[in-house]
Symmetry: C2
Subunit: 325 residues, 2 copies
């Protein structure tokens, strides 16, 4: 049976969002044990439904790795530790990204052979229902070619488990599609990646969301800049669309007529359904839900953790490293 | 009097788009001399209105620097050369980016003291009428800290001339906003940039379009990935919006009611008004219009060249380098 530990206190909405998310998850899935870490007073609705580990201290959203390691009574510290003591498969938190990622790396430790863990996130594409996964989007700020190669392998393991597709299109981001483009780092990684039958070459930024790519590999700095830029731009355009539909009485009426047509677009771009980012390359599944998660998005984050645990993504990554040697 | 040379043959629409663009420009502006380079048979409408340099060879859209240098009879080669022979201030082309940029660099030569030219492009922001300029978006694929510093100075010169604003908010792209974030390159550039009173620190990808930043400095690789990603995403979202408005009869009626409200958004996101990208750091203004330019967007590209020539942006850049020493 899959076992998932959940930090109930992190995130902008605290236990209000997480409790509802856990309840929704427990209603849907019955072959998973949930361990909830948080203030018992706020978790009464979960009593009898799952194990509760008491903790009422919350780390602030802006929290350094050092600070996170010192706050041993915090819900996020206790949650990540519980993965080890309870032999759980996964941990989920909507709290401080910095704290959660550094605790996941320091306590869960890297998978043997993995040089650096990577933060991976799915993004919708032009093609309905098709996602592309991007990694690393910010666990590191510098990488070498071997790390980029490992990111490709980890991204592929993730894609297979989550989307059930075997032959993949893996690309390396670059400033042009021809071999020889890019930085010395890209060119070195390109050469290593030729050994990967899924590797299809370089991809330019403009084609990342085109629907052809399954996995796109970035160094952590470029990936972070790219993902945050895309999120910022999508948010800006969404805001402009909202303004356009509320600009005057006529456009408000327009919305009434058009909204059914827009449902698909809004659904597709609803990042809450994507469930946040995930740290790959440590010895358990570590899902970072969005800081402003509501019940629904937190439920999706737990669901991702469950899917990956059930699909044994950590073992898949270990396996893919073995086949290298 | 400002003098602008125009490659009439480049771009997907060839002289059909460029002739109309030039005519529109000549109707609006009367203190500028235009030199049109192209097949005289296709430029009959310009006879008597401007000087014509005959050339009927067109370089293909995918063209290497070497190839571009060899094709001395091509319209783009002749156009860039004419900047020197005719003592013109600016050159505009909608043709092959690679050919135009390498010819501009090789023939016009870098401004003394400038280590690398940079490709700069404006992008709309959340704030109405406010643009942010991004550079380098792909003239180089690797840069050192001093080059990033020079990009900031060149971007500021551009912003002042085009948007007439003196005190600027210049940022350096990074994976976090606190000093100490980023790569060794970002940190070294950050230290150099402290000497620039306009420098406001690091900016994350998500805030680039927020309206606060005037100039955002990237290394050429990251800038290229970021810009192309943003263009690709904007295009995808635009396509989804169009699909949503044509999904069914009801949404088509919705469009009739809403379109006035959407005018502002569509205007803002119309990249054709932006006029393309520009190579800064060479001894003339070199404007790369969009490959698929129509009359209107080509007109805007000439207008940008004219504005920058009148504002003597090349001299401004020279001046800003002098004040360093």
């Amino acid at each position: 049976m899959v076992k998932i530990v959940i930090d109930m206190m992190g995130g902008d909405n605290g236990s209000k969002a997480t409790v509802g998310g856990v309840l929704k998850f427990l209603n849907k899935v019955n072959d998973c044990e949930v361990i909830a870490v948080g203030n018992p007073d706020e978790l009464k609705k979960l009593e009898g439904k799952c194990q509760i580990i008491p903790s009422s201290e919350v780390v602030p959203m802006e929290c350094s790795a050092m600070e996170a390691m010192r706050k041993k009574e915090s819900s996020v510290y206790k949650a990540v530790s519980a993965v080890l003591s309870e032999q759980a498969d996964a941990v989920v938190s909507a709290g401080s990204t910095g704290a959660f990622l550094s605790l996941s790396t320091l306590l869960l430790k890297k998978i043997e052979g993995i040089s650096r863990p990577a933060l991976i996130t799915p993004f919708p594409t032009k093609v309905d229902g098709k996602y592309v996964v991007l990694l690393d989007v910010g666990a590191s700020s510098e990488n070498n070619a071997n790390e980029l190669y490992q990111f490709a392998k980890m991204g592929e393991a993730y894609y297979r488990v989550v989307y059930g597709k075997d032959d993949l299109n893996t690309y390396l981001i670059s400033n042009g599609s021809e071999e020889g483009k890019g930085t010395p780092l890209s060119r070195e990684a390109f050469d290593l990646l030729k050994a990967d039958p899924n590797f299809k070459g370089y991809i330019e930024g403009r084609y990342v969301f085109g629907g052809d790519a399954d996995v796109v590999v970035f160094d952590g700095f470029t990936g972070n800049v790219f993902l945050k830029g895309s999120e910022g731009l999508a948010k800006m355009l969404g805001g402009m669309m909202k303004d356009a539909f509320t600009a005057n009485l006529s456009s408000k009426i327009g919305w009434l007529f058009a909204k059914r047509g827009f449902k698909k677009m809004l659904d597709k771009m609803d990042y809450k359904k994507v469930g946040g980012a995930l740290l790959l390359g440590v010895n358990a599944i570590s899902v970072k839900a969005h800081g402003n998660s509501n019940e629904d998005s937190f439920y999706h984050s737990i669901m991702i953790a469950y899917t990956l645990a059930k699909g044994q993504v950590v073992d898949q990554i270990k396996e893919s490293l073995k086949s290298e040697n």
